[in-house]
């Protein structure tokens, strides 16, 4: 069993990566081909689009979560703790409230994508940059994110109470992550952002290794802590914003992927962690979608399953006291 070998802890990182890549490829192949009927070209095109969206979101979430966990030296926080998901939901709620469900449905998707992307990146940067002026305290930063998240969530609930029930249904459709309403032009943009972010993260893999040693050790080894941390946080914000703007919030996907990657990679080196996390994310999303679609006959509820499993893992890690 490939997976058993991966989990047994005996294989070298390169071997583990190859195996994970093989499983990811297998998942993609299965997703593209199983049960393909009728117009082959159209079927492949539709599936290809969704596959592209899943890989894009998977890579963006995986890379951003690994970088974020390295920065915070914490294994149970994910970027969504910065309040980004809550802000996304609040933006959609406010839009539906202001324009009603019908008006909301009529917004140009490109406009909506960019609006969401820039509002989320903007919030993240507005949160970080003032803190960077003083000594950066990540604990304070996270707490601010949590409080802001709570604020946005409460505001969303308040607005939702004032809705027409029909508008509420529209909103529910918008705030649950979905891969089935992806548009090719938006996918291309999200891909460009994700690819650029991933390249930057990859080029900084050695710096990330040193950053993982903590601030004092990293500074001692010559890392300009403040500028590096600011750059990496901006990178995380852009990746999360791109993924969320493309398909909607997936709060626990990052946690699920990161905790599996921890076991699969078997090392703290980012040269292995980053690709391993990206591949694991593809396996989780594409593999999960394939199983759901063909094994269980369901459609389009992958996000809920990922959130369910991710949430359970979060609780288990919390109770098991995994803090690093």
């Amino acid at each position: 069993m490939a997976e058993a070998a991966v989990l047994s802890g005996a294989a070298s990182p390169a071997r583990r990566l190859t195996l994970t890549a093989a499983v990811a490829l297998l998942a993609c192949a299965a997703y593209m081909t199983i049960g393909l009927r009728g117009d082959l070209a159209l079927g492949l095109e539709l599936r290809g689009l969704r596959l592209g969206a899943m890989i894009c979101v998977g890579v963006a979430v995986a890379v951003s979560t690994v970088v974020f966990q390295t920065l915070t030296a914490n294994r149970i926080v994910t970027p969504s703790i910065m309040g980004l998901d809550a802000l996304y939901i609040f933006c959609q709620t406010a839009l539906v409230f202001a324009l009603t469900g019908l008006g909301f449905a009529g917004i140009d998707p490109r406009l909506q994508f960019f609006g969401n992307f820039f509002v989320m990146t903007g919030l993240a940067l507005a949160l970080f940059l003032p803190l960077l002026g003083r000594r950066l305290d990540l604990g304070l930063l996270l707490l601010t994110g949590v409080v802001l998240g709570l604020l946005f969530r409460s505001l969303s609930v308040l607005l939702a109470r004032l809705f027409d029930p029909n508008d509420f249904a529209v909103l529910q459709g918008a705030v649950f992550a979905s891969f089935s309403r992806t548009r090719p032009d938006l996918l291309l943009i999200a891909w460009l952002i994700t690819a650029a972010g991933t390249v930057v993260a990859w080029r900084m893999r050695h710096v990330l290794d040193v950053v993982a040693l903590g601030e004092e050790a990293a500074v001692g080894l010559g890392v300009s802590w403040r500028s590096v941390v600011a750059g990496l946080l901006a990178l995380v914000a852009a990746l999360v914003a791109a993924a969320t703007a493309l398909v909607g919030p997936m709060a626990f996907l990052g946690l699920l992927v990161a905790s599996i990657t921890d076991r699969v990679a078997g090392t703290g080196r980012h040269a292995v962690l980053l690709p391993a996390a990206a591949l694991v994310a593809v396996v989780v999303l594409v593999g999960g979608q394939t199983v759901l679609q063909h094994g269980l006959g369901g459609e389009g509820t992958l996000a809920i399953v990922v959130e369910f499993i991710g949430g359970i893992i979060f609780l288990v890690m919390l109770f098991a006291g995994v803090r690093r």
Binding site: A73, R205, H206, V207, D209, V210, A212, L213, G214, E215, E216, A217, V219, G220, L221, G222, V223, S224, D262, A265, G266, T267, G268, R269, R324
Partner: protein, 252 residues
């Protein structure tokens, strides 16, 4: 050589360091001693630019620590702080290899690998090279961290209470290692110590701090004196020469 002039540090309104001026010559082991809260670790943090300099001036081998790029400083001095909770999923060889980061940016060259292998050998870590850090004992871990600091290849090495959590055997081993680093490689070692007898046995010079000031500084023999130690630590203690070594009887 470390040159400190007129350095003060104020945190939250309270004075931690008060007008410190001190010059440490190149080479040799200098022990920084003093009671808790004397400002030893704060001074070390300032020298190692882990804390921003508020007033005064510090240079290490002629490099002003507040204006020299941090990467360049990392080739001049290395710092080991008290228990940096190192990420667990790393092997000893990888950790020691991080010491080469200032030189190679993480992509180890053949030269780097040679230095890492040599350092592992020197610190008796070759047999542990492929072990994960979290499987090591406290003493082995500390040795790996000191090896990483040494691997940085800097002329100046700063250590903040490296003997914490080490038993007698490992504490002695570490101090002898520092002695060797200074003697064989001409490195300047500045180490914060709590056990005055380790300072007496292994240091060339002692700098004693009290209440954010330098209380005394000089050759080991000139500092290990009952009146001076009582002034610094606040209680009388006997100093005897036992088997040719200055020994402070502060336990009873």
């Amino acid at each position: 050589m470390i040159d400190i002039s007129d350095v003060s540090l104020t945190l939250g309104g309270s004075v931690i360091l008060d007008q410190i001026s001190l010059t440490l010559p190149k080479g040799g082991v200098t022990a920084l001693v003093g009671p808790n809260g004397a400002g030893k670790s704060s001074l070390l943090s300032l020298i190692a630019r882990l804390r921003p300099l508020q007033t005064g001036r510090i240079t290490v081998d002629g490099h002003p620590i507040d204006t020299t790029p941090t990467r360049q400083l990392a080739k001049v001095m290395a710092i080991l702080r008290q228990d940096p909770g190192v990420a667990s999923r790393l092997r000893v060889a990888e950790l020691v290899g991080f010491g080469r980061f200032p030189h190679s940016g993480g992509r180890l060259t053949a030269e780097d690998r040679r230095i890492v292998a040599e350092t592992l050998e020197r610190f008796d870590l070759t047999g542990l090279a492929s072990r994960f850090i979290d499987t090591l004992s406290g003493g082995q871990r500390q040795r790996a961290l000191v090896a990483m600091t040494f691997c940085q290849g800097t002329g100046t090495v700063l250590l903040d209470e490296p003997l914490n959590n080490l038993d007698m055997f490992h504490a002695r081993e570490l101090m002898r290692m520092l002695r060797k680093i200074a003697d064989e490689h001409g490195k300047t070692v500045l180490v914060v110590l709590h056990d005055i007898n380790h300072a007496a046995a292994h240091a060339d010079r002692i700098v004693a701090m009290k209440d954010g000031r330098i209380a005394a500084a000089g050759d080991t023999a000139s500092i290990i004196r009952p009146d001076l130690l009582e002034m610094v630590f606040g209680f009388p203690m006997q100093v005897e020469t036992i088997a040719g070594r200055l020994t402070v009887l502060h336990h009873a």
